[in-house]
Symmetry: C2
Subunit: 192 residues, 2 copies
Amino acid sequence: MKVHQLARGFWEHEPSLSLSCKPFRPTSAAHTLSSFDLNTFIRPKTTPTNPPSSDHNNPHSHQVDMQAGGTRWNPTQEQIGILEMMYRGGVRTPTAQQIEQITEQLGKYGKIEGKNVFYWFQNHKARERQKQKRNTLGGRSHCPRNSRDDDNPYKRKCRRWSFVCMEEESRSPFKEEETRTLELFPLHPEGR
Amino acid sequence: MKVHQLARGFWEHEPSLSLSCKPFRPTSAAHTLSSFDLNTFIRPKTTPTNPPSSDHNNPHSHQVDMQAGGTRWNPTQEQIGILEMMYRGGVRTPTAQQIEQITEQLGKYGKIEGKNVFYWFQNHKARERQKQKRNTLGGRSHCPRNSRDDDNPYKRKCRRWSFVCMEEESRSPFKEEETRTLELFPLHPEGR
DNA sequence: GCAAATTAATGATTTATTCAAG
DNA sequence: CTTGAATAAATCATTAATTTGC
């Protein structure tokens, strides 16, 4: 049984750390800076917004079919259908706004978050690409690098971003390891 | 001259689209699904929460030193100092929560957003790695793939995510192609 | 038939590349 | 040239299919 605890043990060994004030640029020296209490961040602080035991069976009752403890998004047929349709329609990297809207709509057919939509497009795009590449190599026929692809690899432009909405643990209610300082990843020992 | 208009011309040719109901899994058949009004998304609808012209010069006045039109984040010495310190402290991929907190703190020394913090760590990590690789190849000395690196490449686990906070165009104000049907996402005209 | 064991899909993250502002 | 920003590729990790032994 691995202990593998907290792979991100940042600053654990960094008692007080005081920044060693270097001569900063005079431009925006409005704040003293001085010591900058790093401990402010560090402290695990028991996740204020999420008391350890309060979600075991919270029936948010949206769509049954989705577990409360929340593992990963499990799209419904409706959702997939719509997403694929959008993909075929040309959507590849939806904007933040679009993601918001799409998420809202798809929410009607099952629990879903913005990130799921975002990831779905990322993955689908990538996997379609792989698939096509394989076909190109093996079959040779079919549009040999057709002009249009609507993907426009290098057209970088629309900014996107999101707001972190983490979710902490609450995975396996069993195996309460005492002092489980955040036992990250309980994962399957059998690997894959 | 490419027309490249709205690479995202989804469903424009999809009048009513009815999803071709396949026999869905009986588990989550709570909603009728039926037609699913796609137009709901598409419609630009003038972004209810964001009237087109109301923010041209909103002086959010935080830290001077940062232009309003805003291009990209320009970290102050203090911010960099702190970030580097944290990096040296072992931080590599801060959690959402951490990012929030870090951002808040760094905000004292200059305008900054969560994504900046996120990107900074991503880039710094990557570039430190490159640098080290170069050194390894050329110099050969210095810890040849030392055991610890605190990075822990394969330890995936802590979820992170954010909420999209887009910002659009305003890059090349020229070349206004007429008939730009549906320039989706009207978002902040001033770009960012 | 059915549940454990495998395998196939695919959701979620991280890393590598690339673009472009300054 | 440096480095913030963004995307694509590579990977990890779960969940559903599918197979297998009883």
